[in-house]
Symmetry: C2
């Protein structure tokens, strides 16, 4: 084959991107090598930097380059509200609506006992400790409206309520079966104001 | 925003991949950071290695990590045939058919005067010199069947023939496995006039 190892390695590596199969990976590799080597170098650098410097916020668990993320470091937000999401991408979607001013807790997953993802893996203990802080008045459970997301919300709501903490769920304006990251912002905003 | 710079840089870099917009780039970045950091590191390495080590074959201009590519270095191929393609990807497609055993010349583009891509940019001089070598008996013009690809084939055919070199073109016709009903009319018309 042509330029065997380096080209083949590049195609294999690109196939690890979600939604990218053999054909797309080939097209990407050829494009970068023929038309955008500067882009390829830039991408290599961005990937290295990201894997090296992006860790997790010690407080809310979202991606962060610092011990506390920008949101957790922002004293001007509403400390009475704590919003629980599955992923940093879901958190970013909520932020883009511009209609939430509280803090977050990112589960980095959802309960899925069959896959070995239990309460510990989603940081339930830390969430309960965080929610027990006196300034927190309400925990908004914004996990996905999928079977696993609903189960996650249910389990967390039970645990929170048994500790006397108010737990709400995003309103069902969010289409059932969809993941928050892909929902249009207006729908998310409505679901936020209609939370129950 | 979350983990501002490194994450945003990664998303911007991923957007340089063909067919990847803001949403896909975000999804890719979050996926790599949350689920496949090893994949991200591997991709960074593959991109660096590829941009550093993959150049062009001095003889046929395809991608190569060595001065002469594997095909040009292969003395067992049929030196009477020289196939002209637009890109290394086109060459790879032809190789995968397993039905061509000659050598190649890769234009790395096609004539597009409005974009400043003329005979020099596609290496027409080198191609003519290569085709003039005594062992070459036929140059197969396998540029795309687009307006620019056709124009490229036409110009090169004229130049080759004026030097007494036989130039042929890939046959136009109905793709194997397709039903006539779904083939575009121009293709059917060509298949009809080129019938053999
Ligand atoms: Zn945080
Ligand atoms: Zn070569």
């Amino acid at each position: 084959m042509l330029a065997a190892s380096a080209l083949e390695n590049l195609i294999e590596a690109l196939k690890r991107l979600p939604g990218v199969g053999q054909k797309s990976a080939q097209r990407m590799a050829y494009h970068l090598l023929q038309h955008d080597r500067e882009g390829a170098r830039q991408m290599a650098k961005a990937l290295s930097t990201a894997t090296e410097s992006i860790g997790h916020c010690q407080r809310c668990h979202t991606f962060s380059e610092t011990e506390l993320c920008l949101i957790c470091s922002d004293g001007a937000r509403d400390a009475r509200l704590l919003c629980v999401v599955e992923t940093p991408a879901d958190q970013a979607a909520l932020e883009r609506t511009g209609s939430y001013r509280g803090y977050y807790f990112v589960l980095l997953g959802r309960l899925s006992p069959l896959d070995g993802i239990g309460a510990r893996e989603i940081g339930a203990e830390e969430l309960l400790a965080r929610a027990a802080q006196t300034e927190v008045e309400e925990v908004i459970l914004a996990s996905s409206f999928t079977a696993e997301g609903e189960a996650t919300a249910h389990v967390l709501a039970e645990a929170l309520r048994s500790r006397g903490i108010k737990a709400t769920r995003l309103a069902r304006g969010v289409p059932v079966g969809s993941e928050l990251e892909y929902v249009d912002l207006g729908t998310i905003a409505h679901a936020l104001s209609d939370r129950r």
